[in-house]
């Protein structure tokens, strides 16, 4: 049996998924993209192959995506992360949808029609607002590990609004909240809500919202915040951080099927 592999080298993390011909995910791997994307890709591949019990020659096709898509020597093709997140999300939810992908450096709003064809997309402008980088900065300012944000926000009992577009100004605003004696968990939830607000400004939404990306994977509370802000049904696929890599693997499979 043939297997297919998709690798998504993002600004922060490299994600890899191995699938079979039915699209079923057999193994995945994640590691920091670091400064050597080829090495990160190689490491992910070795780890996933070992987990799936596969030999390299059993991978019949592969495709890369993400910022480092040009730096994967063994990839048999490349597509943008916009295409791959669309492909991966549609695999899970076969309907018209708006995908919101929140990554480390950028956020995307992708519209698919009922057949899974992309009708339009938007990316955040040249600004970290609404991305994982914003949350990293806030965690740093609050002297918290990034992984602690979701748990803290879950305990929040009060709405605190951060008004600034700018990450630096938002961090300054937070200093003001600390001085005012606001609780850390409420400030953290305000920061997460700020991410949602920035995305709300990017584009209109149509159909159910599908959330993908590492930020949602690590902060599941975002699903509730997005649902509240947009007033729409929110769907989160399994392994949201790996949806782009899954889409890449599905494209590799599709390419192989076409070539048959």
């Amino acid at each position: 049996m043939d297997y297919f592999c998709g690798i998504d080298i993002g600004a922060s993390a490299a994600k890899l998924v191995v699938i079979d011909r039915s699209g079923r995910s057999l193994a995945k791997a994640t590691r920091r993209s670091g400064v050597d994307y080829a090495q990160a890709a190689e490491g992910c591949l070795e780890e996933a192959l070992a987990a799936a019990g596969l030999a390299p020659h059993e991978i019949a096709g592969s495709l890369s995506t993400g910022y480092g898509r040009d730096n994967v020597p063994w990839a048999g093709g490349k597509m943008t992360e916009i295409a791959c997140h669309g492909k991966g999300a549609y695999f899970h939810f076969r309907r018209k949808m708006t995908i919101i992908d929140i990554g480390a450096q950028d956020s995307k709003v992708i519209h698919l029609d009922a057949e899974g064809r992309r009708t339009s997309f938007q990316m955040n402008r040249k600004c970290a607002a609404g991305t994982g980088a914003f949350l990293e900065e806030i965690a740093y300012r609050l002297d918290l590990p990034l992984a602690a944000l979701n748990g803290l926000a879950e305990r929040s009992t009060k709405e605190i609004a951060l008004g600034s577009f700018c990450t630096v100004f938002a961090a300054t605003e937070i200093l003001g909240k600390i001085r005012a004696g606001e609780k850390i968990e409420d400030i953290v939830k305000g920061a997460l809500r700020s991410v949602v607000k920035r995305i709300l400004e990017m584009d209109t939404v149509d159909g159910p919202l599908v959330l993908t990306g590492g930020v949602v994977a690590h902060n599941p509370i975002l699903a509730a915040l997005v649902a509240g802000s947009f007033g729409q049904e929110v769907l989160v696929p399994p392994e949201p951080q790996h949806v782009g890599a899954l889409g890449a693997a599905l494209f590799a499979l599709e390419k192989a099927e076409k070539g048959r």
Binding site: T80, I82, A83, S120, F121, Q122
Partner: protein
């Protein structure tokens, strides 16, 4: 993927370099030879200034050179420090920075740099920034700064509007005659307007060859080839050059030679060029098989209304007809016509941070036109000159994703 990522240059380009070199040489030598220099905005009354014997210099062309040579990003902060915000026109700030530092791309031609103005003449048909820009130099050199104030968001052109603008152009004659030290020769003005019209029609002919599939020319070629239309309208050198270029383009069309090898997709570029990234963008488009076949920007040097029989009113009509000073409805109709005529698959809007007047994505036009025309769009965030406002990676991904989307059919 296309087989070639090299832009195919034109044989005529060598001639263009000579024409542009002659223009800059004469411009820089002018003051020593007793010729007066008039600075003029790109859609200012160049014909009138030329007819009065001025050497005509276009600072916006210099701004584009500062962008294309990537000198701008280092020069802009100098103007910022003098009170010109980083949020205003980066042609203005890079040009003022160039003046303050005494560095110009013109010096790379072994010429001293832009000549000082004896008079500065603006037209606000483009924006208010050109007036602020010229007034800086007016104060700096204590020379007159004169201008035309054109209404904006013009829908249908009417006689009253033409009279209003024509009256302002005629009012410039007397002060300009005093500075020039000569009386306006009305016959000469008609001749210059006639040459300008010839140039415009030839330039339009050049751009319209792109309606052929495959297109023999791209927007990126156009930004280079437009030089004579920008700085030498009203001069026979521009007419001669575009006759030559048009002949070469017609040959390409006859032979089926496309500017983009294996042209797969055709795109309209709305907005300013990103001057410092033209080569990268051109290469990426070639790699993706995308022909950027038409643009608002290159079309903005088509002044069909010029009429030597009625110089002042026709100049007024021509200068006030340009895209940038028209109403939103007019702009949408214009782009819709271009999309149909050039058989365009999608539209790229450049949101230039420091040029709101040339950023037509900001009031919902892309969404309206997509609904009306069924053509996808992409917004690229950047700037004409300030590369600090441009994200290389994000733009690359956006364009690639747009190509994927267009390829869906």
């Amino acid at each position: 993927m296309s087989s070639s990522t090299e832009r195919k240059d034109f044989d005529a380009t060598r001639k263009m370099r000579a024409v542009m070199g002659k223009y800059f040489t004469e411009l820089c030598q002018g003051p020593a030879e007793g010729k007066k220099t008039a600075w003029c905005t790109s859609v200012g009354p160049a014909e009138l200034l030329r007819a009065l014997g001025f050497n005509v210099y276009f600072p916006e062309n210099h701004g584009a050179m500062l962008g294309a040579t990537r000198m701008a990003t280092d020069l802009i902060p100098l103007a910022n420090a003098r009170g010109f915000s980083p949020d205003i026109c980066s042609y203005l700030t890079s040009d003022v920075g160039s003046y303050l530092k005494g560095e110009s791309p013109i010096q790379k031609m072994n010429l001293p740099g832009p000549p000082k103005a004896d008079v500065l003449v603006y037209n606000t048909n483009q924006c208010r920034d050109v007036k602020d820009w010229f007034q800086f130099y007016g104060r700096e050199w204590k020379v007159p700064c004169l201008g035309i104030h054109t209404p904006r968001a013009i829908g249908e052109m009417d006689g009253a509007l033409v009279d209003y603008v024509a009256g302002q152009i005629e009012a410039l004659v007397e002060p300009l005659e005093q500075i020039a030290g000569t009386k306006l020769d009305r016959g000469r003005l008609k001749q210059v307007v006639g040459l300008s019209r010839q140039c415009t029609l030839l330039w339009k002919g050049v751009l319209e060859t792109a309606a052929h599939v495959p297109s023999p020319i791209t927007f990126f070629d156009g930004t280079i080839q437009m030089g004579p239309a920008v700085v030498l309208r009203g001069h026979s050198d521009a007419v001669d050059y575009y006759n030559l270029l048009l002949t070469e383009l017609n040959q390409r069309v006859a032979q089926g030679i496309g500017a983009v090898e294996g042209e797969k997709l055709r795109v309209y570029w709305e907005g300013m060029p990103i001057w410092g990234k033209l080569k990268d963008l051109s290469t990426q488009m070639l790699q993706l098989g995308i022909g950027v076949v038409a643009s608002t920007y290159c079309n903005s040097w088509i002044f069909e209304a010029l009429d030597p029989a009625d110089p002042f009113r026709s100049m007024a009509r021509a200068y006030s007809s340009i895209f940038i000073c028209r109403s939103e409805d007019w702009k949408e109709r214009y782009i819709a016509e271009m999309v149909a005529r050039f058989r365009v698959d999608g539209i790229v809007y450049h949101d230039a941070k420091t040029c709101p007047n040339n950023s037509n994505n900001r009031y919902g036009m892309p969404q309206r036109l997509q609904e009306k025309l069924g053509k996808p769009y992409l917004v690229v965030n950047g700037d004409l000159n300030d590369l600090r406002l441009y994200s290389e990676e994000q733009t690359r991904t956006k364009i690639e994703a747009f190509a994927e989307q267009l390829a869906q059919g």
